[in-house]
Every structure is written in C-alpha cells, then in structure tokens.
C-alpha cells in the first residue's frame, strides 16, 4: 500500500479567514481520538472530485497535543489544478473525508537553543503547531512573518495578541521587508532557522544563511509544491506492462494511480523522496520540479519524481 495510514474524519467546522484562506476542522468519524503529532507535520487530504481522486498535503496547524480535532488552512489557488478550489467550493460541514496519519518532514530540531521562524503567506501554518508545541515546553522562539497585506494576513491578530514579543509582521504592500542579514547576524549560538513560504523566499533564506556561514544542518525548510498542469504525454510502465496517458490536469503519479498501478508516495509535493522512479529509456525533456533530486540527478535523465515532475517528448519508459 502507498502513503501513510488513513483516518476517516468528518468536517466539523469551516471558517473563512479572508479572501483567499479558509480553515477546516476535522474530527474522527468514529468519535475516537486522533493521534498526537509533532509540530511541522502534514496530513494528506483525499478529495473525491467526480471521477478524480485528489490527494493534497496540508500542514496541521492545531495544537499537536489536542487529540480531539485537527485543523488545516487552505489557500485558494485559482490557477492550480483544483484541489484547493474543491476544498473551498465543494466541502461542507458534516462531510465525511479521509485523511492520512500525520507525517513530519519539517520537524523541530529539539537540540536548538532558539528556533527562528520565517514565514511567507500560507507558509505560516506549520509554525502555528510548532509554536504551540514549544510554548508547552517553554521553548525559545521568534517569528518573522511576511504577508501581502493586512487584509490577507492570516492569524496575524492571534499571533500578535498572544505573543507580542516573539512575533514580527511585515506587509509587502507597505514595503516592509525582513532585514535578513542583520536578523541572522544577531542570533545567539545554537539557533536554528526554519523557513516556509514561496520558493523565492526559501531560496533567499537558504542562500543568505549559507553566505553568512550558517551550517546547513541549522537551516530547515519546507515547501509543498502543488503539481502543475502541463502538456499531456505518454508513458510506458515496464513492470506493469502498460502504456498510460497523462492528461493536462493530472500528475504522472495520479495517472498511474488512475490506471491501478500501486506507486509509492508520501508527501505528493516533491519533498519526501518516496515516489522516486527509475527512468529506463527516454527521448525528450524532463520538467523536474521536485526538491528531492539534486541538479546532477536531474540532468542525468535517470530518475523522476512522478508526484510533481512531467515530461515532454516522444518516449518515456519507467521502471514501475
């Protein structure tokens, strides 16, 4: 079986936060307790969208010790392939859904003397759970959170209200920006930095930290990529002995699942490495979008991550 263990849940609350972001609360349908989790974990939500099963990862933002309910926040992506639109438009209180057990690819380094969080937009969600976890154990943390505007600043009021000294907010439309170099410079020894937000922000923080001499192990990041639409293509699956068609609006992983091929996955966002697949033969170009393979592996033409990456060309044969 692929993916983490599943849990049957019921949607118990839906709260629109602003024009783009809505919060969903899940409780177990059988009334039992949910598993505890560690701050930074995500769950994969299954959406039955007509004939299509969509599986999207969302960070858990509720208190990790609260076993009665999980909450996630979903940002509407009008350009994407529809997972977030489905959550916004088709999900109602009382609906039964299936989510995965928590999986953490962005956990706190508990050795850190201090945790420095840098969030952009919806990237705030894993930090909300991590902050609750650290508060319980008197952990030392500080948050720098960049939002587009006051009206789109999800959870700003809650954060500044409860943690006025630890929280620093920056609004793009007011030309406020994080002064990263001096921020990093002023940190005590033993600080770990965590960044979650758009790709540009992650790259900026990682590069700046590296330039400032921060050890790689002290810089943590998480970016879930949503699979992007693209030109349709054909793939031959050597083990299953099938030729399958990947449509414009589906990922290669989804196309394999649609055809009944049991392909491994965990994050479905190019981060965990579970779906790594060997390329047997190809003529054409890969559109690699994952964070898992390094540049030389991308260039080698020997591996592909089917959850987010695509292909354009004549032939592609995979060992699956």
């Amino acid at each position: 079986m692929s993916g983490a263990e599943k849990i049957a849940v019921t949607v118990t609350d839906i709260v629109p936060l602003n024009d783009l972001v809505t919060r969903f609360e899940f409780k177990r349908t059988d009334g039992a307790l949910l598993p505890t989790f560690s701050g930074g974990a995500h769950t994969v939500v299954e959406m039955q969208d007509g004939d299509i099963t969509r599986l999207n990862p969302y960070s858990l933002m509720s208190d990790p010790m609260d076993q009665t309910a999980y909450t996630i926040s979903v940002r509407r992506d009008d350009e994407g392939r529809g997972g977030s639109l489905f959550m916004h438009n088709n999900v109602a209180v009382g609906d039964e859904m299936v989510i995965s057990y928590p999986v953490n690819l962005f956990s706190l380094d508990l050795r850190a003397r201090k945790h420095l969080f840098i969030a952009g937009g919806i990237g705030i969600t894993p930090f909300l759970a991590q902050i609750k976890q650290l508060e319980r154990f008197n952990g030392h943390w500080e948050l720098h959170y960049a939002c587009r505007s006051e009206s789109l600043g999800s959870y700003v009021d809650e954060l500044t209200g409860h943690h006025p000294n630890e929280t620093h907010i920056y609004y793009d439309d007011q030309d406020q920006a994080i002064d990263l170099v001096s921020l990093l410079d002023g940190q005590p020894l033993g600080t770990h930095v965590y960044v979650c937000g758009p790709k540009g922000m992650i790259d900026w923080v990682r590069k700046t930290a590296a330039d400032e001499g921060w050890p790689r192990e002290a810089v943590h990041y998480e970016e879930f990529l949503a699979p992007q639409p693209g030109k349709p293509f054909e793939v031959k699956l050597a083990v299953s002995n099938k030729v399958i068609h990947v449509g414009e609006q589906e990922s290669l992983l989804e196309a394999m699942e649609r055809e009944g091929v049991d392909a491994p996955y965990l994050c479905r966002g190019g981060a965990c490495g579970q779906c790594e697949t060997t390329v047997i033969d190809y003529t054409g170009n890969f559109i690699h979008r994952d964070h898992w393979l390094d540049d030389s592996e991308h260039a080698s033409g020997q591996k592909i991550m089917p959850c987010v990456s695509r292909f354009e060309g004549k032939t592609l044969v995979l060992d699956r």
């Binding site: 505890t36 560690s38 057990y101």
Partner: protein, 355 residues
Amino acid sequence: MTIQFNDETFRDDYSFYNSERAIKRFPFPFHEDSYMYSVNMEQHRGGPADSVYEKRFDVDEHYVAEMRDRAMVLADDPLRCQSLPHMTLAGWDLLELIMVSKSEDYPDLFELHRDGNNWRWINKPLGIDDSFVFLDETTLPYGPMEYITRQAQGDFCVLDQRDDNLWMDAGMVTTQADWSLDFDIGMNFFEWHAPVPLAHEKGIFVRALKFLLNIQQGAPARRLNWTMTVNPLLDTSPENYHKWGIQKTTLTPENIGAKQHLRVELQTFFRLPRSNALVFPIRCYLCSFQDIMTVPKWGRRLHRVIRDLPEELATYKGFIDNRPMMLDYLKNFDDGQPTSAGIWPDLETEPSLAK
C-alpha cells in the same frame, strides 16, 4: 492467556530455560537454507496467534527474570542507560507507546488509567502501582525512558531524526550482542554500523536508512537479526567482554548442545508522535542448540546455514573458532532431506529425522 514466569538467571548458575511453548514460538531467523545480509524488513502488524510477532511488545515467561537481570546490570554500570537532553520528549513518547500497547495487549498483566495528564500505571508481574503526571519528570523515580524500559524486555535505542539521518541520542542497552551504547551515543546510522562487514559494499545500509527515515506513525516495521552466545547470557557487552569472552573456550563436544545458544533479535521500528524520533526495540531470544534440535526442520537448516556462512560473518559474529565443533554437533541433525520455505517449525508437515 496467563503466563507462568520462570524463576531463572542469566549469569552465575545460568538456570535460564525455555518451556516447550517457548521453544515452539522461538523466532528461528532463517527462512531458507542459507543466510546473507539483506534489507529484510516487513510491516509489524501482528502475526500468527502466540507467535512473537503477535503483539506490539511481546511479553513471555522470561519477563520477570530479564527485568531483574537488567536492574543488576544498571546497578553495576549506570552508563548502560543514557539520554541526551533533547530526547526527553521522545522518552515520554516511548513510555506512552509501551504503556498503551501493553495494557491493551495484556489487560490481565498491565493496566493504564488516564485522566488528562494524571496517569496510573499498574504492572502486576513486577508489583508496581505508580501514579504520576504525564510530561512531568519530577513525578517519576527515573526519567521516562529509563522508567519504562526497566519494565520492558529487550534493549531500546531512541533515534533522533534530523539532517536525513538517524542519531543514537538515547537508549537502554543491557542485553546487547557486543556493542556499547556509551561508545555509540551521538553517532549516526553509518557511524554506528561501521564495524559490520560486507553490508556497506552491498548498499544495504543506504537502502535501510531510506526505509527507516520514512517509517510513519501507525505503521511500524520489523526485522530479525541473529548471532551466537555460549551460555544463556543477556549481557554480552564489550564492557564485560573480560567476563564472557573467555566462556567461549569452555565449549566441549559433550556440553555444546546445552551451552551453545542461538541468539535472535526481534528488531522493531516505531515512529514516535510528539518528538518525531524513531524507537528501535531490540528484543533478544535465546535458545540452546539441543532445544532447537527438537524441531527437525530447524535442525537440518541450522546445520546448512552455519556450514555455508561466509567467513567474514562468522568472524564478526564471534564464533569462527567454535564453528568446526558446532558443525560436528549439528551434522547429526541433518539427514539431507529438503526443508520447507519460511521460518515456522511446520512440526505437523516436516518429516522427522531419518536415522
């Protein structure tokens, strides 16, 4: 099912013994007539009734005696139990996992009563009835990991997961096959596996680590490992090599059936929820050669495996000098007949030894 706990020792007079039931459920580690290292991992979700795979944490007739032996080892050498400061939360995770599993799987032996963070733990075999506050260390006589692993058979390594590696940052290790927690503490997966022959070259550790990093909550895994021990010793540590190493030379053709033990480790892997750490319980089962020989299939197979085992492995496992004497004994139980696949004894279907 009630368990009759043995009154036995793993030192001095070695009164350890296996009942008939214990022999039948012994986790014989060879599924075919030869052995080589491999990434032999499977899901840990129960198994045949009364097998060692059935429960999350197997409790058997040796429980009380093993816990007594552990307490003696710790009294002599407190460094067998260590936990780096950032691992306390993982210790609570482990305490919860064991208490919940044992009270659900053995309700007649263990009880857990929870009212918020106020917990009461009853361990009937060891005569313990403690109330404490979950996540408050000051309410327990030891740290959470030490407290619970003094009441759980087998060694425990608690691994921190970071930087795409696992780090041995906590553990309770008193029944080990010649390695030392005090030496390995703080090391990563490749560092502590450095002494193992052949497996690195075969890429086993790279693949095994990938698998372990992806073990998720609610989906534990397991594997078997094995070695040889003369006399039923639990504590075969490097720290005490001067005491047990010499016993390997006391083996004779007359006493080998009783003294030579196959030592099997049931290794399981659980993701811990609050800390995202991984716990690696290593449960040790001992069985004398003469008891193993009561299962004809195992007798045939053990002879073939030991005969054909690569020299590097026999050396690493520490029985290369005694191998000829073992084979002289074991060959009497191998009549050359074929063996059925898999590890189970198959007593009803496998033929008895042809004379």
